[in-house]
Subunit: 437 residues, 2 copies
């Protein structure tokens, strides 16, 4: 049997995908039954890193998603449109879809999976999260027997690279970002990465799968790493922490009051992480996702989160999984595979950030007046914020620098205390407020 | 639809498996369609941590594997017999099999998978390697699109616990082993763990899947951790290494001479690992497996390698995967799923250890005679062993202690040099010889 693939896009990931499919030796023999039938590109003249017959290339992407010969459409053009419309059209024409497009899936998974279920086709998204690391498929097919409590990921390679270099070199954000842009590790417009938007897309997708419900992307709290300074990294280091951009999804245990089981936290923000934590040693462009579930405990998946090769590995594994099912059932099966299809349709409720209970790190610049630490402590105490440590770390210009780490507190209380402190004459500035795991 | 499971064994893992299946809330809804139909135990009177109807328990295990009502037999009794015979009988009676039994699979996978393919059933083994870490299934279903070069695992929790404590406490092997036995982390007869036999079973299974061929367990080189001393751990630490029991499977690149593609190395031995290596920070009872493939690069999977909960998670995920396929195809499908069934039948050729090319660490005790280091260096040079460092680390009793680290050398050459050195008057003893990654 030969299964026919239509590839939308022949950029980095598209070329990597073609490379694997055109060179099946020493890979799983099932790949020999997969053929690249059409490839949609923007321009026919551009030089390509892979050699494909001219007859395969076309600029008419709409013709690929409607081609009756094609079994599986692979969307690797990225961006919201025309990717979304092409995916929906492919589904409407009975094609299975494999996509690396986290932005489309995080925003339009409801209509896409509704359409896929109605058409009886698969939409596979391994490559949309954490590149080459098998994470979607182990989550669906292995870890889903667990009650997942929490998913914590380092899912953006660019920010992890920047934070790692800031840590190693004692350098500030702007300098490292500029260098990362020169080296090609960061985009000219770095916002999607450094402001946490890319990580928010990915954790929304992971949360949806881990907790079996839909997530509205707008509800996901998102804070990037622009506010992380070399000073904070140095103080965190002294306190036994590293700073990482963590994407977290958490199902809160049901309370006696009878909360719904779907009260979730889904958030992206820089976080102080104990150096002994499994994610603390994930450096450079590497990604890792830590799952905590009952009864499996902690499981961490680690690898390269981006790049042609890793992402293509994920894309082709999805193609191979679809082909494997079609082969098993001898054609289109009567039912969708219940672990690979998306079966939930309700929306999860996300807890507002002010209700989050977490530890905080805050750095204050204060005028060197007597009793400042006492007034800080009193103000926090009035707002039910219990402090783990208060350390005057030194002077900066004429100001004393004080670093505070709290015990677990309600975020709303902590923010109220900070607002009150900002009005104190002795407090010149509060340059950093970070959460602590 | 309800799928019926017959469970062989209700010990730690069996009880953990039942616990998940009896409490499906907040797990994948597919689990609600799985029913524990019969449970085979040695004694009906023993108190159990899970509550099952009396009618379900039986001491007649043979009756379970032949019961026409049962779809899936789960073997968690362990040991070679009667586990092997029960598995073969279940297959002969058309049951799918899920097993956590690494010893049976490492020794009898040929007859078991031949029988399973002939009968058109699955034998699923996620729980046989690395407990709760999804590793078999990601390897088969995700990473198999890659050309896998190498698999390196810390796959035995007991030895990792012992080595971690030796490292932290500066303690010697015997003392930590005795304590680990008292705490229940090591068996009264610790041989399977500390002599590397358990790790050898697991790497044989992983090698077979990663490289698509059968492995004769007798060909797997196996060296345990009894010879690792506190002194070696301390010297390794100074040189920038930790010592871990690594299980390695490696496909050698084809040479110009036209080697077969299946020239493999499969071996278990304590290894000096650079502290910056992703496996170096895997401590205590945790396991991790690092895959290196083209084009995915490095992927590491980390978690708990043993215990009721993690192992039960793996067992139930296998059950769930079988049920998912049966449901998809609306009953027994016409073909076995090509990624879940075992499709290879040839045997791989393993490279003899003397042909291994690796770095070595060796510790010598020498009489304090002038020119000893010179004679060491000359002897190694005569055998084509190039040295990276030679350090006289101190004195032990009346003897000088010298630690040597080589560049990559052929193991056979290194061994010949050691044999020659043992005859030197100046060399009192060579207490440690370890490989370096």
């Amino acid at each position: 049997m030969v299964f026919k693939v239509g590839l939308l896009g022949l950029g980095t990931v598209g070329a990597g995908t073609a490379e694997i499919l055109l060179n099946p030796a020493l890979r799983h023999p099932l790949l020999q039954e997969i053929e690249i039938c059409r490839v949609g590109v923007r321009s026919l003249d551009k030089p390509r890193p892979v050699t494909l017959p001219n007859s395969v290339l076309t600029t008419d992407l709409a013709a690929i998603v409607t081609d009756p010969d094609i079994d599986i459409v692979v969307e690797v053009i990225g961006g919201l449109e025309p990717a979304r419309s092409l995916i929906l059209s492919a589904i409407a024409h009975g094609k299975h879809v494999v996509t690396a497009n986290k932005a489309v899936i995080a925003r339009y998974s409801d209509e896409i999976f509704d359409a896929a279920n109605a058409a009886g086709v698969y939409v596979m998204i391994e490559a949309a999260v954490a590149g080459g690391i098998p994470v979607i498929q182990p989550l669906k097919q292995s870890l889903s027997v667990n009650r997942i409590h929490r998913v914590i990921g380092i899912v953006n390679g660019t920010t992890n690279y920047i934070l790692t270099r800031m840590q190693r070199e004692g350098a500030d954000f702007d300098a490292v970002l500029a260098d990362a842009q020169q080296l090609g590790y960061a985009e000219a417009d770095p916002s999607a990465d450094v402001d946490g938007l890319d990580a928010a897309d990915k954790i929304a997708i992971l949360a949806s799968l881990a907790f079996g419900g839909r997530i509205k992307l707008d509800d996901v709290y998102c804070e990037g790493i622009r506010g992380v300074s070399a000073a904070d990294i140095a103080y965190a280091d002294r306190l036994g922490f590293v700073i990482k951009l963590l994407a977290t999804a958490l199902r809160e245990p049901p309370t006696a009051a009878g909360d719904s089981a779907d009260q979730l936290q889904v958030r992206v923000h820089p976080t102080l992480l104990p150096k002994t934590h499994p994610l603390a040693s994930v450096n450079d462009v590497y990604n890792a996702i830590l799952f905590e579930g009952d009864p499996v405990g902690q499981v961490m998946l680690f690898g390269r989160g981006a790049g042609a090769g890793p992402t293509a590995s994920a894309v082709v594994s999805d193609i191979q999984n679809i082909v494997a099912i079609l082969k098993t059932c001898g054609g289109n099966p009567p039912n969708l595979h219940p672990l690979l299809a998306c079966i939930h349709t309700h929306y999860c409720t996300l807890r507002p950030m002010e209700e989050l209970v977490t530890r905080f790190y805050a750095r204050f610049l204060t005028h060197d007046m007597s009793g400042v630490i006492g007034r800080l402590g009193t103000c926090f105490g009035n707002h039910d914020v219990s402090l783990e440590s208060v350390v005057q770390t030194g002077y900066k210009d004429d100001l004393a620098e004080i670093v505070v780490v709290t015990h677990d507190v309600r975020e709303g209380n902590f923010r109220q205390a900070l607002d009150e402190l900002r009005g104190f004459e002795a407090i010149a500035a509060i340059p950093s407020v970070l959460r602590v795991l």
